[in-house]
């Protein structure tokens, strides 16, 4: 292995079983099979099994952070477990150089009856720190966890946030070569998130990180590479933004993305200037500061004679960028038949990037949601202006004075 590749995964597969009884029995078979030294290279699926991870290969070097994204059940956590050496792949190989640290389930092994201080020693030992190392880092761990005087109270009196902080504080002092992170940031408050991030960024200088998350903005911000998994296979690999784009583009929008009372139906969404035979998944392209016009065909229950529309624009990380509520003056008339509305955003000042559009239909006073349609279409803004913020304002700059000139 060349000296800076810390993780190498080659053709790795893992199969799981859908039913418990069979799964247990297969477990016995696998153990006996390994005891007898059976060759595992030509494994196939047994009844009720599926590939949780299927023929996955990648490499990660020192200083790189690989973001693993994908829908639930895509195999992300299974892959992480194999990287951590907890379970073995059924096919393929995994090579890892150096000490592996995992921020997966923080505080695993905490004993509720023992004090925080006692648990620090146990947890540190489980994670592979020696007693001497722990002695040295004890104060730093307690500071990091911000547990204060509770450190000598039994862990069962801690809030869930405190337990996580304590677990994270111990894990953060491991100084591993390979750091595996799985959704830990789902818990904890804002300050804790920022702390985790700072830590990751500092750690990245001389470690390799594999980061599993559904929080796409965090993946985009932290990772240097991305990998999208779907049904156990690699669906896409590239830069984090590319991978997130591909993940979002291929994400089947589930029915739940449509909410509301069901009295409104969105039949179609078209952008003005869009060719009729566009490929299904492509974004509509628009230049910076062009007018964006979108036509909505809808059917709304007849009792709502003058419904009100609401549109929102999200960036590709699903963060809200802007919104608009139809003015009371722009009255729509509805009689229960199909209606078509054009909404125009003049001189759209969004930055380069991919955005998605959500539509809401409200009753006349806006108090009731008749239909809410998330991410109905996406569009991409192109242009050659600099900057990465979602909105690039138009502004006038004029000089209104200068000090030290001869006129003063």
């Amino acid at each position: 292995m060349s000296d800076d590749v810390l993780i190498r995964v080659e053709g790795t597969s893992k199969r799981f079983c859908r039913t418990l009884k069979r799964s247990l029995w297969y477990g016995v078979q696998d153990i006996v099979g390994e005891l007898l030294g059976r060759d595992s290279s030509s494994l196939s699926l047994r009844p009720a099994e599926f590939w949780a991870v299927n023929d996955v290969s990648f490499e990660v070097r020192r200083g790189e952070c690989l973001g693993l994204i994908g829908p639930n059940g895509a195999g992300k956590s299974t892959l992480l477990k194999m990287l951590n050496g907890l379970i073995k792949p059924d096919r393929g190989r995994i090579e890892i150089c150096g000490r592996v640290g995992a921020l997966i389930e923080l505080g695993a092994g905490f004993s509720p009856i023992l004090t925080g201080r006692e648990n620090i020693y146990v947890n540190a030992a489980v994670l592979g720190l020696s007693g001497k190392e722990t002695d040295k880092k004890l104060n730093s761990i307690i500071d990091f966890a911000e547990i204060g005087e509770f450190i000598d109270a039994p862990v069962q009196t801690y809030s869930s946030g405190m337990k996580v902080r304590l677990g994270f504080a111990v894990a953060a002092h491991l100084e591993p070569d390979v750091l595996l992170i799985d959704e830990i940031l789902a818990v904890g408050d804002m300050a804790f998130h920022i702390k985790c991030f700072n830590l990751m960024e500092r750690a990245l200088q001389d470690t390799t990180i594999v980061y599993v998350s559904h929080n796409l903005p965090q993946v985009a911000r932290t990772c240097t590479h991305g990998l999208a998994l779907n049904k156990g296979r690699i669906a896409f690999r590239g830069t984090p933004s590319e991978v997130i784009d591909s993940y979002l583009a291929n994400m089947e929008i589930p029915d739940q993305a449509t909410a509301g009372s069901g009295e409104a139906e969105l039949l179609s969404v078209h952008f003005d200037g869009e060719s009729a035979d566009r490929p299904r998944e492509s974004h509509f392209m628009i230049s910076y500061l062009d007018d964006l016009s979108v036509r909505l065909r809808m059917r709304i229950a007849p009792e709502h004679a003058s419904p009100v529309l609401y549109l929102a624009v999200y960036d590709r990380e699903l963060k809200g960028v802007g919104e608009v509520l139809q003015k009371q003056a722009d009255v729509l008339q509805n009689n229960g038949r199909e209606i078509e509305v054009r909404v125009t955003f003049p001189r759209l000042n969004l930055s380069r990037g991919v955005y998605s559009l959500s539509v809401g239909v409200l009753n006349r006073h806006g108090g009731r949601v008749l239909g809410r349609f998330q991410a109905v279409r996406s569009f991409q803004v192109t242009g050659d202006h600099p900057g990465w913020m979602p909105v690039h304002f138009e502004a006038r700059f004029e000089q209104i004075g200068i000090r030290g000139s001869k006129h003063d």
């Binding site: 799981f16 153990i31 907890l86 592996v100 994670l127």
Partner: protein
């Protein structure tokens, strides 16, 4: 394997300290609970015998002392037998999330078994004083006997652990079977010389270990020393096999129980 064993010493120590210090922390009486079960057990048997509910052959030492020593030795065997499965089961969460040397659990369990035995030794001292049992030089062999009993229990427990993690039948089975095994082992009665039970106690691997150790503690030389050596030798070779099985099985178990 040996590397992992030595790497796990420190962790095993921490886990041992954790388990032992948490063991009685939520009790008011604390270590009293270490003494109550064997004391109660001994009293029951002494009472039953004095009422002639059953009849057993004569013992060379007072029956109370005979039962107490037997019970303590039997208990350390059963503790060792239950230890691996108990610890692995209670550490499932940790096993499924953290990669640490798996031997640490076994070592920590052994430590706990030994610790609890040493605590209960206080009872033994009391019994020896109460019945004024003379001490023999062979009592120095007793630790070897205790280790052999722990070894045998551990070996059986380790072999059962992989299958026991997958199928809870094993846990239920162990509970029932150890109860039966207790009566088929000369713990509270001297080994019978004829009849079907005599055959069973003769081939029961716990018998020679327990009998020899009790003899060394209480009467000096033992007639069971030969079979003691044979059983111990087989035990310590088999432990290696059980350990290997445990190591190989662990990733498969984790994949099945907590994936």
């Amino acid at each position: 394997m040996l590397g992992d064993l030595s790497a796990s010493r420190e962790l095993a120590w921490r886990l041992f300290i954790r388990n032992v210090s948490a063991q009685y922390r939520q009790t008011a009486l604390g270590y009293v609970w270490a003494f109550v079960p064997p004391l109660a057990m001994t009293l029951v048997w002494v009472l039953l015998r004095s009422q002639q509910v059953f009849e057993v052959g004569d013992t060379e030492i007072p029956y109370g002392a005979y039962v107490m020593v037997g019970t303590l030795l039997w208990q350390v065997f059963v503790d060792a037998l239950n230890s691996p499965l108990k610890l692995v089961t209670s550490s499932k969460q940790m096993l499924a999330r953290i990669n640490f040397p798996r031997e640490a659990l076994i070592l920590a369990g052994l430590g706990e078994v030994l610790f609890n035995f040493i605590v209960r030794l206080v009872l033994l001292v009391g019994v020896f004083a109460w019945f004024r049992i003379p001490l023999h030089a062979t009592i120095l062999l007793a630790p070897v006997g205790v280790l052999a009993l722990i070894g045998l229990g551990l070996m059986v427990g380790l072999f059962l652990t992989p299958i026991g993690i997958l199928f809870q039948d094993v846990q239920y089975g162990i509970a029932t079977f150890t109860y039966l095994w207790f009566f088929l082992t000369p713990v509270v009665y001297p080994p019978p010389t004829d009849g079907p039970v005599a055959m069973i106690t003769h081939w029961n691997p716990v018998s020679p270990l327990l009998l020899a150790t009790r003899d060394w503690c209480t009467i000096g030389a033992s007639t069971h020393t030969g079979s003691f050596i044979a059983v111990s030798a087989v035990t310590f070779v088999s432990i290696l096999g059980a350990w290997l099985l445990y190591r190989i099985a662990m990733p498969h178990l984790i994949a099945r129980i907590a994936a």
